[in-house]
Symmetry: C2
Subunit: 458 residues, 2 copies
């Protein structure tokens, strides 16, 4: 029998989407709208629970998708036999088999902090193309943005000590271990335990040892010695399998030097103090202490406040699932159509789920190097600037072609750090942060008012 | 520039793991333990928050991995240049380049409900092989088990009304949309919106329309009419873009029949009553009502208790992220090694993180067709049976070869349903369920006591 791994592939990118994207595409096609252009924007109406900012991530994979999405012949054969498509013309399937994205894409660079209602990605294209992208784009930006944002919180809590992604086993799927590792690095993690992420993206990989390795041998010492001998300059020894302090004693009595010890259970702060003392008194000031075990930003902040002598934190489940807020609630909304070459606003006036019309730009006002406020305006607007104003959305794709190179992942990580440094402390407090000010430009509000007074679709 | 999609592939399966699996492998190899066999078991020590059972899922992808895992030449070249591996012998990398899994695997069939401490998968193999599998196996079983279990809860809440997976956009990664769709179907969902999941696994795909489709047109009626005409027998009309009741009126005034209306905002229960009345009074008793919008089992149960006339629920984020419990805390622990052909118990006596030694079997006692209790015993044990006793772990892989065919996914779904039907109602209550009884066999406990009294490793 054939066992299916359910790996994504380029051939199946087109159908890695919700069915309704394709039924709507067929309806647009049959209605003669395949040339009609539209603009969609990706944003969140509300920041997730306990988040005061989000860190944009996932753009590289989103751009790969946009520039590679196609419908392989087998996927078209599959679609044709689905009941809803039985009455759809052959022309539509010919259209799909030649499908390539031909539109424009603007986005915030990865590593940019963003807030409520700010478009982080914007697609202008023939409506069918822009519509089909919806599901995959939300998915791809959502997962990495969620993890990068969580990593940034963990790094804030760690106050200069390093965070390493240990979460591959608890990430939601084999691909997601890699995506999460990448996003965590962008958000400030020092690296990951995921080897494939290192292979694919070049980010640093780290590892220690598991309890099973210690338990495999009849004595802890035998396990430690073999490990140290195999990795003479790269041994992190897991010391808590039986008794942590005894474990440390054994680790430092080995015939050669070790690099670090890992604590994975018990009162980590108290143990770290005791272990540090023992290491120092025995002349092992250079041996680092790594802590792990169901860590989150609360626990890490508590360790930081106690000045626990922990050099590095391995964080798993809570990081890669963003356990307290496992999603960013990103949406992808139609904001503009075009009629006879002229932009037509599209918006929704409802209270809870309002969307604002027109293609937008997000302007970040800065003073004395710090972020002061954001203004969401129209895309072609120019704000009065007696201070520094930066438009955050940049064009990455023009007529279907990538026109802007992406930075190396190390630069993205440095950029994210530099941006978070410019966000004032009151907006980054892990518990009681103030809301960073985001307003709408006068021009956008005036346009909206004008519309509301005379434009009630029906 | 090259944009990287970060897709998993067979060539990179070997390194889609934590670095420490590979450093431990190198240490075992260098220590001369490459022939030593060991048994690892995958289980959870505690059920996740609000869960009273878990539904096993993900075995097909786990078995694909086990029978295909290898180290492609590029991945070996990558490993060789990593700092920790600089002193590791060429023989180890030769070993990796010929790596194939040669051991045995037992597992619970997909769709089996399981509980705390019960091994859901068991690997016996040369220790290096068994160790390397850890990360990917936990990952693969974790994500699908989590979603299947959540789907089962949603179906219990829906009391016979159908649940459809609408979550692809919020699943944690593009592959995970497909994995979650598969798992949701095993857990009882009627189908998914994810087209690729339908293509890959044959599960039913469903779709409606998005607000953007309605907003694209100058009038709601124009949108509805085009959609209905394109899909004459398969139109679900989204009616809440402007005014839900007006939307329904427009939908049923179209020139041909529609199949269903979808409500996506407002007081869904009250709206469903009003919409049902309107549909019935206008002679559209056959038009179904589909509800969606941030649903979870609490909200759905409330609708069920009110007898809201909703025929089908579309559930997104909460289903595919298992939002209230985004993981199953599965672990993979060493329980047995072999010395001179004889099994050596491996266990951990610590209070919080105890593991029980020896290869195990899970016996499910049934009475009058209902599950009565589970007993975790030794693998070769036979329980006294004056009633039906079923061993839950079956062998799937022998000497690296798949020996047991997997059922079709529809059969897996039916099996899951039949098993959940046999779990008594008091163990399935969504809020205040009793704990299903799981005990350890006398033989296992005696073995453990004997070990604790004289076996303290050090």
């Amino acid at each position: 029998m054939t066992l299916r791994p359910l790996f994504p592939t380029v051939d199946t990118l087109g159908i890695n989407t919700d069915l309704y994207e394709l039924t709507m595409a067929a309806a647009y096609f049959e209605g003669g709208f395949s040339e009609s252009r539209a603009t969609f924007e990706l944003f969140t109406r509300r920041l997730p629970r306990r988040r005061t900012f989000l860190l944009a991530a996932g753009l590289e994979q989103a751009l790969h998708y946009i520039t590679h999405v196609e419908f392989g012949p087998e996927t078209i054969a599959y679609l044709r036999q689905l009941a809803p498509f039985k009455n759809v013309s052959d022309d539509f399937f010919d259209y799909l088999s030649n499908f390539r994205f031909t539109g424009d894409v603007y986005a915030m660079p990865e590593g940019t902090p963003f807030f409520e209602n700010e478009p982080v990605l914007q697609v202008t294209a023939p409506v069918i193309e822009a519509q089909i992208l919806e599901t995959y784009l939300i998915n791809t930006i959502n997962v990495q943005t969620m993890v990068a944002s969580k990593a940034a919180r963990l790094c804030l809590a760690a106050r200069g000590k390093s965070i390493v992604d240990f979460g591959s086993r608890r990430a939601h799927g084999p691909q997601t271990g890699v995506l999460a590792a990448r996003a965590a690095y962008i958000g400030g993690a020092a690296g990951t335990s995921n080897v494939l992420a290192g292979f694919e993206t070049g980010i640093p990989v780290y590892g220690t040892m598991a309890h099973s390795f210690v338990q495999f041998f009849d004595s802890e010492k035998e396990a430690f010695e073999l490990f140290r001998r195999t990795f003479p300059n790269h041994s992190t020894i897991l010391v808590d399998t039986y008794d942590t302090i005894e474990g440390v004693r054994k680790a430092i009595s080995l015939e050669g030097p070790i690099n670090a010890v890992r604590l994975d259970s018990g009162d980590l702060a108290a143990l770290a103090v005791e272990v540090r003392k023992l290491l120092d008194s025995e002349g092992h000031k250079d041996v680092a202490i790594i802590a792990s075990g169901s860590l989150d930003e609360e626990k890490i902040l508590a360790f930081s406040l106690k000045d626990a002598p922990i050099d590095s934190y391995g964080v798993g489940t809570e990081l890669v699932t963003s356990g307290d807020a496992p999603g960013c609630d990103l949406v992808y909304k139609l904001v503009e159509t075009f009629k006879d070459g002229e932009a037509q606003p599209r918006f929704k006036a409802s209270k809870d789920k309002a969307t604002l019309p027109y293609r937008k730009q997000v302007f970040r006002r800065c003073r004395c190097g710090e972020f002061w406020e954001d203004v969401i305006g129209r895309c072609d607007e120019e704000l009065d600037a007696d201070e520094e104003v930066r438009p955050l959305l940049k064009q990455y794709i023009k007529d279907g072609q990538l026109i802007t190179e992406l930075p190396h992942i190390t630069e993205i990580r440095e950029y994210a750090k530099s941006q978070l440094d410019r966000l004032r402390p009151e907006y980054k407090n892990l518990h009681t942060a103030e809301v960073y000010p985001v307003s709408f430009s006068r021009l956008l509000l005036e346009a909206l008012e004008a519309l509301q007074s005379h434009y009630l679709p029906g």
